[in-house]
Amino acid sequence: MDHADDPTPRPYGRRAFLGLVGGGVSSLWWGPAVWNAIATNAVPASLRGALPSPTAGWRIYTVNPPMPRFDPATWRLQIEGRVRTPMSLTYRDLLSLPRAEQRSDFHCVTGWSVPGVRWAGVRFRDLLALAQPMPSAKGLAFMSSEQPYVDSLSLGQALVPDAMLAYEMDARPLTREHGAPARLVMPQMYGYKGVKWVNRIVVSDTVELGFWEQRGYDLDAWVGRSNGYG
């Protein structure tokens, strides 16, 4: 039937409304796959970092681009501050420490999540056993080689069973955009706690405010219990 010259009004507006709402709701299922295809094929690489990347929903944030580059020959992890034995670990030293593995969900404070990320790295119990914090030590500040990014955990928070300094993600060494060679993984807190490109851990008698916490985010970034939902 051709309605082109049919003078009878038809409720196309209602159909369009229902179609748009149906399309929008169903995009929860098809949207990410379609968007990933578009982002991979049609967006210049320079812009891709700010968008949900094709690797299952990650968004890569930087505060001071370009991202740091990792050179295994010169990279060092300093552990200093209120410790008995300040340390300077090479990448090989880090890999030789007791290895821990886990699968955990990653939640960003802006609303996106990546479920079931596989991490491998070092527990803070093992890392701190080398440097031996002094009895007065309360907090750890994780400094990034992407200055001035920093964030902190209390000693107690760092010792929860699923916190680690990770050097592998999904069975591969950390990529540059995910913080190569080492990043903080704290699944019970929002992702801004997960300092990337960590090259210095400073043990201190207080828990210092991190980069985002100086800009109004909560210091204790528990998922579901912070940043407006305390």
Partner: protein
């Protein structure tokens, strides 16, 4: 003062204008607070993340409450009739959309499509926003697609609003329509040219005008109350 040649005809009732301005006000307040939450560079500019997020949520709640108040206190019959006008498309609309000469009713086909798109966007904003809110409490309800939908809607709705503002305040042939959304009435001659199929309302009777003024007063008081309550709640929720 309208002269004999420049007669105004009523295009939008108080209820219709309130629905429009509640949407407009809520849109910009939600866009501002949403962008502040979204762009890392704006963190801390307007308060802590908790405060900005609370403001975003209270504005969203105020938006829905204000619309419910209009539905409860306003001219529901008129709103229903307007909805039917927007839903219905005829062969003149099809010609108009193909940029051919065709007489249009109170709303042209473009205005109807814009209203449909904004209504769908509002529904989807509420849906995806509610999922984001609930996902904070139960992480099983955080889906990859939720934030993508909310972001995509923001971009799409903002582009539509930019086009809408251009036609309402810049583009000379359509600019006279703005008067209709402010005072309710538009120039009769302009409306005959742009909305030839629309039979303009006869001049309102005195009694109806009075009751409509009363309704305006009541709704403005209600809207102000929602606003005051919002500010009070935001202040109270601050650290």
């Amino acid at each position: 003062m309208a002269t004999a040649e420049r007669v105004g005809v009523l295009r939008f009732s108080v209820t219709e204008r309130l629905v429009h301005w509640i949407h407009a006000g809520a849109f910009f307040a939600l866009l501002a607070t949403g962008v502040a939450l979204y762009l890392p560079g704006l963190a801390g500019t307007f308060g802590s993340r908790a405060q900005v997020k609370a403001a975003h949520l209270y504005v969203a709640a105020g938006w829905i409450v204000a619309l419910l108040l209009v539905a409860a206190l306003g001219d529901r019959g008129r709103l229903g009739a307007t909805r039917r006008e927007i839903e219905l498309f005829d062969s003149d609309d099809a010609r108009w959309l193909r940029r051919l000469q065709a007489p249009q009713g109170r709303f042209n086909a473009g205005q109807k499509l814009h209203a449909v798109a904004q209504a769908a966007a509002a529904t989807l904003f509420l849906f995806s926003g509610a999922l984001l809110w609930y996902g904070e409490r139960n992480t099983r309800f955080r889906f990859d697609g939720t934030i993508l939908l909310h972001d995509g809607l923001t971009v799409a709705a903002t582009l539509l609003v930019i086009g809408h503002l251009y036609l309402a305040v810049v583009h000379p042939p359509t600019r006279p329509a703005l008067r209709g959304m402010l005072s309710g009435s538009v120039d009769e001659e302009w409306s005959r040219r742009h909305h030839a199929k629309w039979p303009p309302q006869p001049p309102a009777e005195e009694g109806r005008a009075a009751s409509s003024r009363l309704a305006t007063l009541g709704l403005l008081v209600a809207a102000a109350a929602v606003l005051v309550l919002t500010v009070a709640l935001v202040t109270a929720s601050g650290p």
